[in-house]
């Protein structure tokens, strides 16, 4: 009974407060990450040699270093050159750039998987380059990239907890404060874990349905 009251009066309100911050971190980061990913992925396939190398380097660096290091760089490092980001802004910048690098992998893979014949057929019909991209290539490629990109967003949901480490108090941060205050770590962290599980499962379920909605016969993607 006691536990339940503690949960109702303390845990749930703080977690809800943190939850809102988490969501306001995740949504813009996911959106920006996808945009960056589509742009970077396209550049890595269709860009000029120099641009391609540059974007490849961006992806290698952001996929090869821990997100924590990147967050610290944005939050603690940038003031060194006179740029001050709030914890929230540093987190969104960090998440978007990191997520974009991963997203670009899926977009690139999907673009590369499109057969030459598709482009030849479009050109033969007199499509301009942009028309071809818009109505032939992207509709196919984005379908192929969807499972990977969706998975990346699920990762982002989980990794948004790292914002706590640059003092952006979202769900995990609220939980930490609450737990240390009442010294009830197990209960509080189980509760916050459950919140994330629900969030991740909902996102997974939504993604699954989206894939089903968008699926075209004979266009199934097999695994990763």
């Amino acid at each position: 009974m006691d536990e339940w009251q503690f949960f109702q009066s303390q845990v749930f309100p703080s977690l809800m407060k943190g939850f809102k911050v988490s969501i306001s971190l995740i949504l813009p980061s996911a959106f920006l990450g996808v945009c960056i990913g589509i742009w970077a992925g396209s550049m890595r396939v269709y860009g000029s040699t120099w641009l391609r190398k540059l974007v490849d380097a961006y992806v290698a660096i952001f996929r090869g270093t821990p997100l924590v290091v990147q967050l610290f760089f944005w939050y603690f490092g940038l003031p060194h050159v006179g740029i001050y980001l709030s914890p929230f802004a540093a987190s969104v910048v960090g998440f978007s750039l990191c997520s974009g690098a991963y997203q670009s992998e899926y977009v690139r893979g999907a673009l590369l998987s499109i057969k030459k014949g598709q482009m030849l057929a479009a050109q033969a019909l007199g499509f301009s380059k942009w028309q071809m991209l818009r109505s032939v290539i992207l509709p196919q490629a984005l379908r192929r990239a969807l499972p990977g990109c969706g998975n990346e967003i699920i990762y982002l949901i989980k990794y948004s907890s790292l914002a706590y480490m640059v003092t952006c108090i979202e769900m995990t941060g609220e939980a930490k404060i609450l737990a240390s205050h009442y010294f009830k770590y197990t209960e509080v962290f189980l509760a916050v874990g459950a919140f994330y599980l629900v969030l991740v499962s909902l996102a997974g379920w939504f993604l699954h349905h989206l894939e089903g909605r968008l699926s075209i016969p004979g266009f199934e993607h097999h695994g990763k």
């Binding site: 996929r63 270093t65 003031p79 060194h80 989980k158 770590y185 874990g193």
Partner: protein
């Protein structure tokens, strides 16, 4: 980059590099733990009875769904004091990263096992092998070979995740870098240096696994 930044990096480098041994320790421990647990989990999910399969799915769902940081706090501050066991932050980090990696590795192995043709198991049984022998001598040697590329990917994920152990105060690369940075106020160059160390470790590890893959490659074998 400014000279005092470079000086700070060079002065701190030995100290930070010592942390890379801690990082490598965490990664090796977690990967090994994850391997030892991931194989039985995968076998349970492929060949197990329905309750076993459900149990594995729940395990995987849980450890893939809850963020690492939350699990670290839950195990270190929660379970350890609840059960009154005294584990070091290092041990808890290895255990938690290992439990998570086991969930991911089990799915790697499951996929590899599923990609083997059913005839392999049938032929083994037709020779009178028990299921255990068939799995040990026929299925696993093939599945593990097929898993190396995905395993190499998993290595780079665990390596990067190990930086989160900083939150428990484990003196790995990240923690040491931050410690030096707050004293010298040279955050930017120091984090760049830390990032470079991680890049090198990622590269070295995936390179090593590529060598392993070539070493155990079977002529003409691919699936």
């Amino acid at each position: 980059m400014m000279p005092e930044g470079l000086i700070a990096v060079f002065q701190a480098l030995p100290y930070i590099l010592q942390g890379s041994f801690v990082t490598i320790g965490i990664v090796l421990g977690a990967m090994g733990f994850g391997l030892a647990m991931g194989i039985p989990l995968a076998l349970g999910q492929v060949y197990g009875s329905p309750p076993v399969r459900v149990a594995v799915r729940i395990y995987v769902w849980f450890f893939r769904g809850v963020p690492l940081l939350v699990l670290l706090f839950l195990f270190y501050f929660g379970f350890c004091s609840l059960l009154d066991i005294n584990l070091s932050a290092f041990t808890v980090s290895v255990a938690v990263l290992g439990l998570i990696s086991a969930a991911y590795q089990s799915q790697i192995f499951r996929g590899a096992i599923a990609s083997l043709p059913a005839g392999q198991l049938k032929a083994a049984r037709a020779l009178g092998m028990s299921d255990a022998k068939a799995v040990w001598f026929i299925i696993l040697p093939q599945a593990l070979r097929l898993s190396i590329p995905a395993w190499s990917n998993e290595y780079s994920i665990v390596l990067k995740d190990s930086a989160v152990a900083y939150a428990l105060g484990v003196a790995e690369i990240m923690a040491r870098t931050h410690f030096v940075a707050t004293r010298t106020y040279q955050h930017l160059p120091l984090y760049l240096a830390a990032g470079t160390i991680y890049l090198i470790l990622t590269y070295a590890g995936t390179r090593g696994l590529r060598l392993l893959e070539n070493k155990v490659r079977i002529r003409g074998y691919s699936r």
